[in-house]
Symmetry: C3
Subunit: 315 residues, 3 copies
């Protein structure tokens, strides 16, 4: 789609036959992508963006770099939401190749496999599983019954995904209009799961708004865990049941999150961090190999000590 | 069913050919419905009920209004539970019309659509979805794979329901017998979802015991959210992942509930209230536009201040 | 499989044609089973084990009883993990008898029922349900759409399992290698559900690692509840929505767990205990009939008093 077509769609009058391939953040955009700035906090990212164009307010437009075209508007985030629909793939592909299924793979009845999807060898795809369009699954992976894998997602080798789990559902994103409507930000990214990953039953792993939600190799996830869009779960992480991760949070390698613990969005958690059950993480954790607990979060020993002090209040 | 038949079913000897169409609360019952009083707290509602008849103890029977027949018994709530079974619809309808599906609607393989159900135009019903009997779905709605919509529920136009979500499962209700058995209160109501509602993956929205669990137009619900029977979620509300609402709670317009927050049952939450992540609401919130946090709940600023005071205990 | 074959599989050189039928704990092993000791805390159990053989370190091997063969190794738990694969049943049985379905039972379209499975009379098995191999279901039980029951599980009479619930998914268990890999402990047990049990929507009940995860008769479980492997939920227990139970915890009869409450693993909770919503149980509760709340857990009255004291900090 040309930049001109996109601009026209939101009522801007710009002449440009520049081809735009998608949407992305200020920092990750290529010269073929469109980005946006809503929050002044990211002004420094604007200065360094390589994006083809940026949705930006008049006020912030002076910071747009030379090679980036400014699309000046009052509500950049809302405009991004509207434009995101233009880049949304079809919910179901009508055209495309029949799926390829490797040797030794068992596909049970009542399984749907979409167009252009490729499943490796020696897999087991159990009844009621849904494998969307353009999905790839490696070798020797087990997909249990009633799992749903949305279009464009990737699953590696030697994985196990338990029943009812959903991979690639839309992340939770929308922009507000002034009159109180929510405009969906189409989640045009995907989910990529490495090798040797086991995911429990009835989990939900949202697809990225841009690019990819990542579950690296060797991760272990228990049941009823929620992983928001654009999270990255690094190798060796362990997520116990009912954990919830908000969007864009990165767990570095070997982070352990106890049952019902959770994180806010856009955080980083250092390698070998342990969050005790019910811990609630609201800030980035820089220092590796520490144990944390509680909500608000304290170092685990401090939290235990604090609980002692609190219970002393009863005396 | 006549009142006499109903009375006989629970061992009461009453002569009345009054036709009873269903069960309902003291306040909502019409003159064709049967109600009950177990908890004295609701005695004033008894005085004003319009119900055809009421299950009531001897002790409370003097307050039954003139046009209402008293069905005097020792355990009104237990009797209600027993009677609820008489009004339960079939789990699967054997008779009825074939479903109607509007123009432009795509129905994928392995979808079941029940008797008398009506699906509008330009919808997408994805593989593995179950649409029960007597369900109506509007136009331009997407039902993702492995969604289950129980019988009698309604979904509006322009909705998106993500994979694995369950709409219309039974609310959690039962009466105790003296010897410790639980007698199911059949959940004979339904769920009604307005227009432009998006619901994430693996949520559960319970059908009402009487009448309707309501999700109004414009609501946004993230993944793994639980909504109890007879809740009402008003327009513009946002429920982040892993939120839990107990039964009969009303969220007024534009309430925002952060991740893993929850409410007790039978509450009202005022418009534009924000509950921070993990907040636990146990009392009605009357004043609109306030921010709350914690469990027990405090105004957000107070909660932050309190956490400071608590952490001072470590000094 | 002979003990020799098993020992060879993990690189031990032992001559024994003793037939081993499975794996089990120190205390529960029969004379045909293999067990392990990793944690010295269980040394006294080792002395009393009846197991055919035990994986044990050199250091602890002196405590192995006379009739038990010591399989001496550096990492007994890791070796157990490796061996567990040898005893894992097939994910799908290729051979076996066609399922038997009793009179009056309705099986909707898109249902899969596995080999050797037996479903009683007057049941309703709704569309999209998956009933694995070697499953037995009693009479008059309703399995709602898109429920998954893994192989070898048992469900009694008069049960209701709501949509999307998963029964018998793998428990969360693995052993660590020194280089940071997780080796799956195959969950070779099952789940057994008694009579008159109702389970809500999108719950997950994990199969046992050895033997059985038990849900006794008369239990009521709400939506989105997680029950870990080898738990035992006794008769009359009530689990409200979003409860999470870690593995090997026993709820004695008539325990009530409020919404979002949780327990650590390997605990016992005395009969008629009530855990308030959000309560977090980390220690065994010996005394019956008490009410508890909070995390850390206090007696409910104490917890309320404590909250008063805490809020006084704001003054």
């Amino acid at each position: 789609m040309t930049l001109q077509e996109i601009a026209n769609y939101i009522g801007l009058d710009i002449t440009s036959d520049k081809e735009i391939t998608g949407l992305n953040t200020l920092t990750d955009s290529t010269e073929f992508e469109l980005t946006f700035l809503e929050n002044k906090k990211y002004l420094s990212d604007l200065k360094n963006t390589k994006a083809a164009a940026v949705l930006v307010t008049q006020e912030n437009s002076s910071e747009v770099p030379q090679n980036t075209i400014a699309l000046i508007c009052d509500e950049p985030y809302l405009m991004l939401a509207k434009i995101s629909k233009l880049f949304a793939p079809n919910v179901i592909e009508m055209d495309g190749e029949k799926p390829l299924v490797g040797g030794g793979t068992k596909v049970m009845p009542n399984v749907y496999i979409g167009k252009n999807s490729v499943i490796g060898s020696d897999c087991t795809i159990m009844a009621g599983a849904f494998i969307g369009d353009n999905v790839t699954i490696g070798n020797n992976t087990i997909i249990y019954p009633n799992v749903t894998i949305y279009r464009d997602c990737k699953v590696g080798n030697d994985c196990i995904i338990h029943a009812g789990t959903v991979v690639g559902s839309d992340g939770f994103g929308f922009a507000n209009t002034k009159d109180g409507k929510y405009i969906k930000i189409y989640q045009n990214g995907n989910v990529e799961i490495g090798n040797d990953v086991e995911i429990g039953a009835n989990c939900t792993i949202d697809r990225a708004v841009f690019k990819t939600t990542k579950i690296d190799s060797g991760v272990r996830i228990d049941n009823l865990v929620h992983i928001g869009h654009n999270c990255k779960i690094s190798s060796g992480c362990i997520l116990v049941s009912q954990v919830g991760l908000s969007g864009s949070t990165t767990l570095h390698p070997y982070v352990v999150m106890g049952g019902q613990s959770a994180t806010a969005g856009h955080l980083e958690i250092a390698p070998f961090t342990t969050i005790a059950a019910r811990g609630g993480v609201t800030k980035t954790i820089h220092e590796p190999k520490k144990q944390w607990a509680g909500f608000p979060l304290f170092e685990h020993r401090q939290w235990l000590k604090l609980q002692g002090k609190i219970s002393n209040l009863l005396k």
